[in-house]
Symmetry: C2
Subunit: 584 residues, 2 copies
C-alpha cells in the first residue's frame, strides 16, 4: 500500500467481527504505536487450544517502527496478549493505568519477558509523548474494571479519540467519574475521528449504573440464612468491592477462592480500589470454625469454566468446599453467549446438591460494563467527531453502531465498517479502507508448548470425529513379513470384531504386496530396488478404502511401514542393524 | 424393587434434567406402555456423535411386558428414538396423531424396521385400549407442531393426565383449539396425577399465541424489496403455513430447500394442515426466471446447523443460492441455548454478503411452543390433580414448576422432582421414588455404524486435546531391530524437530530393550522366553514419560511392538512367516 504523507493508518489486528483480543495499530510516517493487545478464548472446534491471539505478522515485519503501546484498562481481552507478543518483538514502553500495569507486570514476569519493555503508570489527564507524531492523553472513563480510560490521540492530522471499553456511569462505585468535561472540550475543539466500543450497540436505552446492583445484592444477602457463595468476574473490581462491603455489613467474613480472584483483590487493595480491613478475610481452612450465617465464599467460575473453583464445587471435586443444605449461591454475572450451557449445568448441579441458587437477568444482580445505544449516542454528542469508526464488536454490532451514528447526523461516507487486518486510511477530509495486512489467528496450545497450526487443528478435528486406525508392518527385501503386523484402533466405532478386522487388513495388505513384488521382481530377483515410499502410500490408500467400506466410518488411517535396515548384500546372510548391541 | 399390587410405576428414561429424548414408561402389574421415545442432539465434547438416546436396558430386559406406545406429537424429541429402539425390541402397536404417524412411517421405513410394529392413527377424543390396565384418551392440545395431544391415561388406580408438550393458544392458526372442556371434565371427576411440561416454567406470564407472529411477519414481508429468504423450524407447521400464506398475499412464489422442510410440508399438505395451491411452489432452478421481489426461499438452518441449507448459503457453499444486495433474510426462530454462537455467526456472514437480516426477540417474529407460568397454572387449575409430576425440563425448571404448583395449593409432599431412571411409585394416596433403573445415554455414531461407548468418547476427547504419537518397532529374538522403527505424529504440537524426536525415542527404546535383554537372557541365550506383552507396556510407559517431558504436552502415546513370527528353533536359521507366499 502507498504511504501517503498526510494519512494516519489505523490497523486493528483483533477485536473486529468478534468480542476479544482487542489489538490496534496506529501508524504515521514510520512511527507505530499500539493500543491494547488482548487475547481471546478458543471457540468450539479449537481442540486443545488455550489462548487465541491475532496474527502478528505485520508487527513482526515492522518491529523497527514500534515506538510504544497504550493500554486503556486491565481486562484480559486488552492486555492478555502482551506477554506472548514480547517474545517476538520488543515494545520500548507501555503506558497504562496503575491497576492494569500491576496485573500486566505479573504476567510479564511469569512469562519471563519483563525485561523486554518498560511499564509506565499514568494518571488521569496525563499527556504522554510516545513519538514525534503521537501525543496521548488519558481521559478517565467508567467501566466494569476500576482504573479505566479513554484516550485522545493527538496526531499531526488532528485528534483521534478512542473510547476504550466504556459505559457512562454517573454514580460509579469508586466515585471516579467519567471525565465528560474533557470529552466535551475535545468536541468543542474538534475531533477528527471517534473510535468507539460497539459491544452493546444492539441494546436500546442506557446501561444501568454499577451501583444499581447494590440494593438487589443487599436483599439477596439479607435473605440468606446459611453460607453465601458468591461468584462474579474476578476483574469486576467494583462488584467485588460491593460484595466485600455487603459481607461486612451483614457480619460475615470472606474466604476468597480462585487464583485470578485472589490476584485482582490483592492488587486492587494495594492500589486502594478496594478498601477493607484485613480481618474481613479468613482462610478457607478456618471456615469450619465459623457459623454458616457469618460466611461469604467469593469464588471464580461465574461462566461455568471447567477448572474454576465453583465448577469444581458443583462437580463435588473441590477438596475443601462441599455444598450443603442452607447454602445460597449467587451468580452476580450473566453468561457470555457460548457459556450458557456450562453455566446452567453448574446451576442445576448446585441446586441438586441442596443449594438455593440466585441467578438470572430479572434479579438485577448484574449489569453490563459496556454502554448501550443511549450511552453511545451521548459519547458521539459530546465528542462531535467528523469521522466515525465503530470497533469492539461482531459485524452486526458494528453495523448497528454505525446506524446509531448516522441517526445523529454523521454521514454514511464518514464511517467505515471494518474487519481485522483492514488498513483504515484517515486524512483530514476522508476515511477509507486503503489496504489489508495479515489478520488470521495464532493459537496457543493448552500445554503452552507452542502454537497450534491450522493443519494440527484439522488433524485433531478428524481424530475427534472418527478416531484413528494405525497399521504397523515390517516387510523384508523378499516381500515377506519380518514380524507380525500390528493393528491399533483409538476412538473408532466398529461393529466388526478386532480379530476379524485384523484378518481382513492383513489379507488385503498381502494381496497388494504380492502384486507389487511381481512388478518389482519379475524373475524373483530379490536384489531389485524397492520403492518403499510408493509402496507405503499405496498400501495406506488401499487400507483407507478397505476400512471405510468395511466399517462404514471415516477414521484417520495411518500405515507405518518399517523398511529393512539395509538392502541385502547377499541373499542368504541376515543383516543386523549397524548400532547393534549384543546383550551380554 | 417390589412390585406392589396397587402401584402404578412411572419411569422416565429421558426428558428429565434436560430438554430432549422424552421417553416415559408406565408399568402396572406386568403391563408396560411407553409414552413417546425421542432423541437428543449431542452436546460439546460428544465427538462424532450424531444422535443421543436414552439407555434402553430396562426395556430390553422387560421387552415381554411391552404392550404398546402412545405418541403425543411428531417432534424429533418425541418420536426420533423409535426407529433405533425397534432394532432392539418389538413394540406391538404405536398410537399417535396423523402427522406424527406419517413422519414416523418414513423414519421406520428408512431404518428398515417398519415391520416391527403397527402404526395406528388417532382422532381427537379417541379412546384406545392398549392393555387391561391402560385405556388412553387423546385430548387435542395446542403446540408449535400441528396435530398435538395431551393424554388421559385411565388406570386401575385412577386417571393420570400427561400434558405432552403444550401451550394454551386460544387463537391457533389452524383453528384446532385446545380441548379445555375435556381437561375440565377430568378435573371435575378427579385426576390422580398431572404430569406436565416444564420447559418454560422460569418464564412469567402467558406464552403469546402463534397468531401474534402474523402481523409482524407481514410487516417484514411488506418491507422487503428483493428476495425474501425465510428460515424457521421445519416442524413448525403453523409457522410454515403462515409464511406460505404471506408469500401468496404478497405475490411471491416459494422455493423450499432442506430435506426436513420438504418432508414436513409434503406430509402436512397431504393431511390438510397446510392448505395452498401447487402453483405457489417453484423449483429452485426456475427462480432466476422470476423477479426478486416475487420470490420467497423457505429454508432450514434457523439454528445455524453446520450442514443446513441457510448455513451453506452463508458460507457461500450453496450451489444454487448466492446472497446478493437487496436480499432480506428472516430468522423466524430463536436460537436454542447452545446454538447462539452458530446462529449469530450465520447472521454476521449473511450481513457481510449484503443481505438485510431480520432477527431477534424484539421483532415479534417468533413465539415459543411451550406454555409459560400462567399457561402452567391454567393447566393445574383445570385438571385439579391430587399429585403433580413436573417433567420435560432441566432441574431448575422442574423445581420452578413444582413451586408454581405449590403456590396453587398442591402440598409439597404430593409431588416429586425426579431424574431419568427414577421409578416413581404412584398409589391412590401417595407419590414417591421407589427405585432406579439404568438411565445413562446411548450415543449413535455419525456414521450410524454403531454406538459410541464411553471409552471411545474419552479416547476421542484425548485425541482432540493433544493428538497422538505412534511408535512402531519390530524386534527380533536377539533383542535387535529387524526393521527401522517408525514414528508418527498426528494432531501433536511440538517445538522439537521430527528428526531430533526420532533420535530421542529410538535411543530411549534401545536403552530400555538392552536393559531387558540382560534380564531375559543373562548368558546370551537367545532361545529364552521373552515376555513381549510386558516389554510392550514397559516401553510404552517409558515413551509416555519421555515424550511428556520432552514435548511438554500430553499426547496419547501408542507403542506398536511387532514380535517375531515364531521363536527361533535354531539360532542361525531365519524363519519366514507361516503363510508366506513367494513372489513369482
Amino acid at each position: 500500500m502507498n504511504q501517503t504523507e498526510n494519512t494516519l493508518k489505523i490497523i486493528p489486528l483483533g477485536g473486529l467481527h468478534e468480542i476479544g483480543k482487542n489489538t490496534c495499530v496506529f501508524e504515521y510516517n514510520d512511527e507505530i504505536i499500539l493500543l491494547d493487545a488482548g487475547l481471546a478464548f478458543p471457540t468450539d472446534g479449537m481442540h486443545g487450544v488455550n489462548v487465541v491471539l491475532p496474527d502478528m505478522t505485520y508487527l513482526r515485519e515492522n518491529r523497527h517502527k514500534i515506538r510504544g503501546m497504550i493500554v486503556t484498562h486491565g481486562h484480559e481481552d486488552h492486555i492478555g496478549g502482551i506477554a506472548f507478543h514480547l517474545k517476538q518483538f520488543d515494545i520500548p514502553v507501555i503506558y497504562g493505568p496503575r491497576l492494569a500495569m500491576a496485573l500486566l507486570q505479573d504476567k510479564l514476569e511469569e512469562a519471563g519477558v519483563a525485561n523486554r519493555t518498560k511499564l509506565h503508570k499514568v494518571q488521569p489527564r496525563e499527556m504522554v509523548r510516545i513519538s514525534p507524531s503521537f501525543l496521548v492523553e488519558y481521559i478517565r472513563n467508567t467501566h466494569s474494571i476500576a482504573d479505566s480510560f479513554s484516550v485522545a490521540i493527538h496526531t499531526p492530522i488532528g485528534v483521534v479519540l478512542h473510547t476504550g471499553d466504556f459505559k457512562i456511569d454517573h454514580t460509579p462505585v469508586d466515585g471516579e467519574k467519567f471525565d465528560l468535561q474533557r470529552l466535551a472540550e475535545h468536541g468543542e475543539k474538534g475531533v477528527l475521528c471517534l473510535i468507539s466500543d460497539s459491544t452493546n450497540s444492539e441494546v436500546p436505552g442506557f446501561t444501568p449504573s454499577e451501583r444499581s446492583v447494590f440494593p438487589n445484592l443487599d436483599r439477596v444477602f439479607a435473605q440468606a440464612s446459611g453460607r453465601l457463595i458468591v461468584t462474579t468476574f474476578a476483574s469486576s473490581v467494583h462488584r467485588v468491592n460491593m460484595i466485600l462491603e455487603l459481607a461486612k455489613k451483614q457480619g460475615r467474613v470472606v474466604s476468597v477462592i480462585g487464583r485470578s480472584m485472589l490476584n485482582v483483590i490483592a492488587h486492587a487493595r494495594t492500589l486502594g480500589y478496594i478498601k477493607c480491613d484485613d480481618d474481613l478475610f479468613v482462610p478457607l481452612n478456618m471456615l469450619n470454625k465459623i457459623p454458616d450465617e457469618n460466611v461469604v465464599i467469593l469464588t471464580t467460575g461465574s461462566q461455568g469454566e471447567p477448572m474454576a473453583a465453583l465448577t469444581r464445587i458443583a462437580n463435588q471435586e473441590h477438596r475443601q468446599v462441599k455444598i450443603r443444605q442452607g447454602d445460597t449461591v449467587v451468580f452476580s454475572a450473566n453468561p457470555i453467549p457460548g457459556n450458557t450451557i456450562a453455566v446452567v449445568n453448574t446451576i442445576d448441579k448446585l441446586m441438586m446438591l441442596g443449594a438455593k441458587v440466585v441467578y438470572g437477568r430479572d434479579k438485577g444482580i448484574h449489569v453490563s460494563g459496556h454502554g448501550a445505544q443511549e450511552d453511545q449516542k451521548l459519547m458521539i454528542a459530546l465528542t462531535r467527531p467528523k469521522f466515525f469508526l465503530p470497533v469492539h464488536g461482531e459485524h452486526r454490532m458494528l453495523v448497528k453502531h454505525s446506524e446509531t451514528a448516522q441517526s445523529m447526523g454523521i454521514p454514511a461516507e464518514n464511517m467505515v465498517i471494518i474487519n481485522n487486518g483492514d488498513v483504515v486510511g484517515l486524512t483530514t477530509d476522508s476515511i477509507s479502507i486503503v489496504g489489508k495486512v495479515p489478520s488470521g489467528i495464532e493459537l496457543v496450545d493448552s500445554s503452552h508448548a507452542g502454537m497450534v497450526h491450522e493443519r494440527v487443528l484439522k488433524e485433531r478435528q478428524q481424530l475427534a470425529e472418527d478416531g484413528i486406525i494405525t497399521v504397523a508392518a515390517a516387510i523384508g527385501w523378499d516381500g515377506e513379513w519380518v514380524a507380525k503386523p500390528e493393528i491399533h484402533l483409538r476412538g473408532v466405532v466398529t461393529v466388526v470384531e478386532k480379530a476379524k478386522l485384523e484378518q481382513i487388513i492383513i489379507q488385503s495388505m498381502e494381496a497388494l504386496i504380492d502384486d507389487r513384488w511381481v512388478n518389482y521382481s519379475p524373475a524373483g530377483n530379490s536384489s531389485v530396488e524397492v520403492d518403499w515410499i510408493r509402496l507405503r502410500s499405496d498400501v495406506e490408500a488401499e487400507l483407507r478404502r478397505l476400512l471405510r467400506r468395511e466399517l462404514q466410518t471415516n477414521p484417520t488411517v495411518v500405515f507405518l511401514l518399517q523398511t529393512p535396515l539395509e538392502p541385502p548384500v547377499t541373499t542368504t546372510t541376515r543383516r543386523s542393524r549397524p548400532t547393534a548391541k549384543v546383550a551380554s
